[in-house]
């Protein structure tokens, strides 16, 4: 372009180009050259030398034109960002930006490793415990496998004087069944341990005694053989038939396909197997352990023979299931039951005056107490929901602290044209990424956790009956929790930054909007330290109680002592005459085993958690109620005190001559002797007492032994020992003292017992030491549970305090900068922040401490002499918590003390 070219004067071109720069770059890009060309053309149309006035008018019009278009372009851009011109394109752009945000969030999170780790782990714990509970409840509430048309099955409870009971008397059951009601059929059942004798010895089996229609009421058809027949309800002992479970058939009876017709021996009676239950059906209460055998209840000698349970209307022992007629409702069944029971009450006022019955829908949770357990479950859900909420609160605190320190970055992004919506979305995406990671980890935790829970749940025989595999409802629930967590974690920071005045208030040290959030945060963090304090103090108290218990003098020597409980009631040893020979035989053959020092018999030992109780008084003062002493009593035979290692202080222990025919003798502990005859000689004196259900009688004191621990570790009762041979009980305990390691004696002892009576179930031989350990299990469990929750609470409290202090430091950057500029040292700043953290935690710790004292007094009875205000527990736990608080605030405190005052002031 030459200045001499008449059509393109340099000054004009400069002017047009300057005008062009008022328009947005996109417009310049598209049309710049053409616009310049047209301007030039229009200028040339004015002629080579137009008048100054015309030229000025043209220049003004050109500028007006550009500025007008500029205004329109701006309006169009503003509109474009909100208007949905083309949904597809907008959605696409939105998704594209979402992808960018995700990448950006991931990059940001991976840069803040500690933050991400803590946030994800705490969300994982929060979501995990909730998903775990849901998994467990979901599996528990699953329909009982094998039951058909479960909606027609009902459980019928017996009610009396406003209370509900499971058990009926057989005559009531019989009478109600005979009436035509909306209940098509009613089945009775009773489950009990039995002793099954097979080729290779005895087994303990779970027997269910049922009416013959039990399977039909539940809609279960035996997979092999046939069902019970109504004619088999007639007994006793006329139709000895049994149906075995699939597991029993497969494992214990070797899966013979021709098991039908085999005979089995149950509790000394012979039954022939007529069928096997389908594999999926393990009884109608699978959660309480699978049933091994079903037998008509009229066939059992214990029910139908000895005890007359079938005819006594006052004895209630039978549980009842029912099947509704097609289309009938539980309400109709209840109305009919009411009528029938009203009639029974009139006919049998003595037994039935206040009795009635009530039907409930059948489910895996027994109807009795179902409402209570559901309330408990709801309570747990609420509790764990609260835990998740607290965790979300903590993570929100951390996110806020992070956002506050990212203020510069955020303002730069906004200055570069990032819309507020975009910013909110970025924060939400960040929260979503955190929650999803936490949720995924949490679901894994949940499955491990519920598997672990399964293992500590007591009676879970032969593989867990609960299905704990991840399935759709559980994953959906967890995803729901994750989204809730996302909203909880992302929303508050997002709202703060979506409002410009709040962004600017952030810069303000006393920030208006931040104040309220801050105060709730501080209270929550404080409360968390308090909860952690309570749990850890309870944990410490329980552990100290366990240690006190382990160290105290039991009064006997559990080392190398083996115990074996044998229940002789099923084998016909109902009296000493019947059992005597067996017991002598067993004692002699075990004593002959190499390594056995002594053998003795009793019905229990200290700390076995069973215990019999009675009261004794001096025989010469039987009426003196004040002289009555509540004691624990134990039946024992010769050699008992030597075997358990309790010293005989005066007189003698039991001897073989103390038999039923001789005079009843007793051995008492020193504390009882001191109570009854303080300072006097007690040998030969008489005490009066009743042993179990026998009438009270006199016993001659023949010996005094050292004090022994009670059956339960939390009790302290004097002890009386009476002769087992003089006061027989079929539930005996065999005690064997070994010379060295007693565990090698377990198999020989089992063999010796079965050798004498092969019909007995394989006896369980337990070391006395494990019994002693088991006796403090309650305290140990309390301590462990408190420890587990305490550590969780400690972790949460630490995170909570960290979030609050970090946020405060981030918000107070300028103030701290000013202080430092005015001469505050780094140490001073560090101290200020740490003191602030302590001040934050203090109210929670004080309230928590008071509550812990109250809780300690509440459980004083299990603390075995450890004071509920135990200074060691309180001191150490308070120290732990304070150090956690200090530790959690150390990172932000160091950050605060490393603030460069010039930098902090300039950056604001």
């Amino acid at each position: 372009v030459k200045s001499s070219d008449p059509t393109k004067r340099v000054s004009d071109q400069r002017y047009f180009k300057a005008l062009l720069h008022c328009l947005p770059p996109a417009f310049r890009e598209r049309h710049g050259a053409e616009v310049l060309a047209v301007f030039t053309e229009m200028r040339n149309e004015l002629g080579r030398h137009p008048g100054v006035l015309r030229l000025m008018r043209f220049y003004t019009a050109a500028a007006t034109d550009v500025l007008r278009r500029r205004r329109i372009e701006r309006a169009k851009r503003a509109q474009r960002s909100t208007r949905v011109l083309n949904r597809g394109a907008v959605a696409q752009r939105w998704l594209g930006e979402l992808g960018q945000d995700t990448v950006y969030a991931l990059r940001g999170l991976s840069r803040a490793k500690a933050f991400t780790l803590i946030a994800v782990l705490s969300l994982a714990v929060g979501i995990g415990v909730n998903a775990g509970l849901f998994t467990f409840v979901h599996a528990t509430l699953a329909p009982v496998p094998g039951v058909n048309e479960a909606e027609r099955v009902i459980e019928i409870l017996s009610t009396g004087q406003g209370a509900e009971y499971e058990v009926w008397s057989y005559p009531d059951f019989h009478d109600v069944r005979a009436v035509d009601t909306p209940i098509e059929a009613m089945a009775g059942w009773k489950s009990r341990d039995g002793s099954l004798t097979t080729g290779d010895g005895g087994q303990r089996v779970n027997v269910m005694y049922v009416s013959s229609n039990y399977f039909r009421v539940l809609g279960v058809v035996p997979s092999r053989g046939r069902d019970f027949l109504p004619s088999e309800d007639v007994g006793p002992g006329e139709h000895p038939v049994a149906i075995v479970s699939h597991a029993m058939w497969q494992s214990r009876l070797a899966g013979d396909s021709d098991i039908i017709g085999e005979t089995i021996t149950l509790n000394r009676a012979t039954y022939s197997v007529i069928g096997a239950a389908p594999e999926e059906f393990t009884g109608h209460r699978p959660l309480q352990g699978g049933v091994d055998l079903w037998v008509p209840l009229t066939q059992d000698n214990w029910i139908a023979g000895e005890n007359n349970y079938l005819t006594d209307r006052g004895v209630r022992w039978l549980r009842v299931l029912g099947r509704l007629r097609a289309g009938a409702t539980v309400g109709e069944a209840n109305a009919a039951l009411q009528t029938v029971f009203a009639r029974l009450a009139r006919e049998y006022p003595e037994t039935n005056e206040t009795r009635a019955a009530r039907a409930f829908p059948f489910g895996s949770i027994p109807a009795l107490g179902r409402a209570t357990s559901m309330m408990g479950v709801l309570g747990l859900f609420a509790l764990l929901g609260l835990v998740l909420l607290i965790i979300c609160g903590n993570v929100t605190g951390m996110v806020l602290a992070r956002s506050a320190s990212r203020e510069r970055e955020i303002s730069v992004r906004m200055a570069l044209g990032s819309g507020r919506g975009r910013l909110v979305r970025l924060l939400m995406v960040e929260a979503l990424v955190l929650s999803l990671a936490g949720g995924a980890l949490g679901v894994m935790l949940a499955f491990w956790g519920s598997a672990g829970l399964m293992m500590i749940m007591p009676p879970m025989p032969d593989g867990s009956p609960l299905n704990l595999r991840p399935d759709f409802p559980i994953l959906a629930y967890s995803l729901g929790l994750t989204l809730v967590a996302t909203l909880a974690v992302g929303l508050i920071p997002a709202i703060r930054f979506s409002r410009p005045e709040l962004v600017s208030s952030l810069k303000d040290d006393t920030g208006g909007g931040g104040r309220r959030v801050g105060r709730i945060h501080r209270m929550a963090a404080s409360a968390q330290t308090g909860v952690a304090l309570i749990l850890l103090i309870l944990c410490s108290l329980s552990f100290r109680a366990v240690r006190v218990m382990d160290r105290r003098d039991f009064g006997f020597e559990p080392h190398n002592l083996l115990t074996t409980r044998i229940d002789l009631s099923q084998q016909g040893y109902q009296s000493m005459e019947q059992a005597g020979a067996f017991l002598d035989h067993v004692t002699v053959s075990i004593a002959a085993i190499p390594g056995v020092q002594t053998v003795s018999l009793s019905d229990g030992i200290p700390l076995d958690l069973v215990g019999n109780y009675t009261s004794v008084s001096r025989a010469d003062r039987p009426d003196e109620t004040a002289g009555r002493v509540l004691v624990e009593f134990t039946r024992a035979t010769e050699g008992f005190f030597g075997t358990i290692g309790t010293p005989i202080l005066q007189g003698r222990g039991f001897e073989a001559r103390d038999v039923a025919a001789s005079r009843p003798v007793a051995v008492i502990t020193r504390s009882l002797a001191d109570r009854l005859w303080p300072g006097e000689d007690v040998l030969g004196r008489q005490i009066r007492s009743s042993v179990s259900t026998d009438p009270a009688k006199e016993f001659t004191v023949v010996g005094v032994v050292g004090d022994v621990a009670s059956s339960r570790p939390t009790e302290h009762q004097p002890h009386t020992f009476v002769g087992l041979r003089q006061n027989y009980s079929p539930r005996i305990m065999l005690l064997v003292k070994g010379t060295a390691d007693a565990s090698v004696l377990i198999r020989p002892i089992q063999a010796a017992i079965l050798d004498v009576d092969p019909r007995l179930p394989v006896p369980q031989v337990i070391t006395s030491e494990s019994l002693v350990t088991r006796s403090t299990e309650g305290q140990r469990a309390t301590a462990e549970v408190a420890a587990g929750f305490g550590l969780l609470a400690l972790l949460l409290a630490g995170i909570g305090v960290y979030g609050v202090v970090a946020f405060a430091v981030a918000n107070r950057r300028r103030e701290i900068g000013v202080r430092m500029a005015l001469g505050a040292t780094r140490g001073r700043v560090l101290l200020t922040v740490l003191l602030d953290a302590v001040r934050l935690a203090l109210p929670g710790l004080v309230v928590g401490g008071l509550l812990a004292v109250a809780a300690g007094f509440g459980m004083r009875s299990t603390l075995l002499g450890v004071s509920p205000m135990d200074p060691i527990s309180f001191g150490s736990v308070a120290a732990i918590l304070l150090s956690i608080v200090l530790l959690a605030s150390l990172v932000p405190a160091r950050r605060a003390s490393s603030i460069d005052p010039m930098n902090a002031l300039r950056s604001e």
Partner: protein
């Protein structure tokens, strides 16, 4: 709804055949007898707006824009929708013109 005046004239100019912005300005200047001056920012802005509304389209090389003309120029032509809009506006103007003539013929409004 009335079409914006300069939109109408741009469409009218394009009705005579596809062309570029500078030529459109010339045609408008001719058929309005110099009474409507289209300054370039508004002219090219309007071309963008008309294109967004689907009344005109830009020609690409293949759809036969004259090769002898300046290659930097963007060429536009009417779309069927644009032609329809122009026709409608013409009808509207005719109606307006007829009403105006009648009003003038009766001397004064009733």
């Amino acid at each position: 709804v009335a079409l914006k005046q300069h939109w109408f004239h741009i469409l009218l100019a394009l009705a005579a055949g596809a062309t570029h912005g500078a030529e459109i300005r010339r045609r408008v200047r001719e058929h309005t007898d110099h009474s409507l001056k289209l300054y370039p920012a508004m002219l090219y802005g309007s071309l963008d707006d008309l294109q967004e509304s689907g009344l005109i389209v830009e020609l690409d090389e293949r759809s036969g824009r004259p090769s002898h003309e300046n290659e930097r120029y963007r060429y536009y032509r009417l779309t069927p929708k644009g032609r329809k809009a122009l026709a409608e506006e013409t009808r509207r103007l005719e109606t307006v013109a007829r009403l105006a003539r009648e009003a003038l013929a009766t001397g004064r409004p009733r």
